[in-house]
Subunit: 209 residues, 2 copies
């Protein structure tokens, strides 16, 4: 009987290993062989899933994003708060810390590679769209906000998350998982309250007695 | 008559050239000779000011920070708003974009170098202290806030600034200088209003009639 291989699981495995290898060796220095070693696989096996190093790295980042999207989408219909949803995107455990470090390395390397920035722009747009969905699903009144305001709130959450990516990697002792969640919670409270001040919830008109 | 050399000006020149060279070549790849070329100087001249490549890079980042501190300190006593002060720290022109790119590269490289992170921690602490000073000088009532709240507001501004560093480098077309200032302005409004909701300004008691 042929062995049954779960390809999704294996791509996942390789992507996580790639993030770990990038975090250890740096994005420029990391080789396919480092990633294979980290994954406990052969480079031949990696080649079955990815064409070259850059394909693998972009693939890994994109794959991580798809996984995040899946996790968030599954929870969007429940009674999950916006903070609970976004916690899933913060570098609060080893796997997500490795992902944050990989992003940091990618941004640095891609800064001077317009082609690479262009290819990664789609992930950025997807992430914006996902944040927007999280916002509109959890804050019903936000659907009545002007589009520009929704986009600014999304940008604000995104920028704050990028900042937490940086600080979780460069100042881990100060920006612990608990501190990340506290600060993100305060940020969301502040940004949403500010948006509501400018665009108050519509209330039912008071009936005159 | 001997030539008069303005050493401060020259250190400044070298530091700015170092940031440009790092942005072009990457922090790991950049050499002293690249930096010298960018500065229009000899490597011998650089050696007069810095011991080695890492000394120069950390020196450049520290120097940029001291310059920022000087600019902000000069304006702290006037009627400058917090947003006006912070604009000086945002990557809204070529020199500050180069600085942001250098920080991004430094964070990536230092992520796995505990020694380097430790040596850069002082710049992080200085930046926190400076932001705290900007906050307390421009928002008089903040002096009555609990210390933890002041620190959280400082963290929030810092994280948002880091996010703008990342986005100004990786998505420059979307995060233009004007957009950076708009978003930072909205962030400050939201964070300060939120802090004041939790710790309202003391008002004179109403006299009963």
């Amino acid at each position: 009987m042929p062995k049954i291989v779960d390809h999704d699981e294996r791509r996942d495995e390789i992507a996580i290993a790639a993030c770990r290898a990038i975090a250890k060796r740096g994005l420029e220095a990391v080789t396919l062989s480092d990633i294979a070693k980290e994954a406990g696989r052969t480079t031949g096996m990696l080649a079955h899933y990815y064409d070259n190093k850059w394909d693998l790295i972009l693939g890994a980042l994109r794959f991580m994003h798809v996984r995040l999207e899946q996790r968030l989408s599954q929870r969007l219909n429940g009674k999950t708060t916006l903070l609970e949803l976004l916690q899933d995107a913060l570098p609060t455990n080893a796997a997500r810390r490795a992902e944050a470090a990989a992003w940091l390395a990618f941004w640095t390397f891609a800064a001077n590679q317009p082609d690479l920035l262009k290819r990664s722009a789609q992930i950025h747009s997807d992430w914006r769209a996902l944040l927007r969905q999280c916002l509109l699903r959890t804050q019903k009144d936000a659907r009545n906000w002007p589009d520009e305001m929704i986009e600014h709130v999304v940008s604000s959450i995104m920028l704050f998350t990028d900042g937490l990516y940086v600080k979780a990697i460069t100042r881990p002792a100060m920006y612990t998982p608990a501190m990340q969640v506290t600060l993100m919670g305060e940020h969301l409270d502040a940004v949403l309250a500010s948006a509501r001040t400018r665009h108050p919830r519509r209330r039912k008109p008071l009936r005159r007695s």
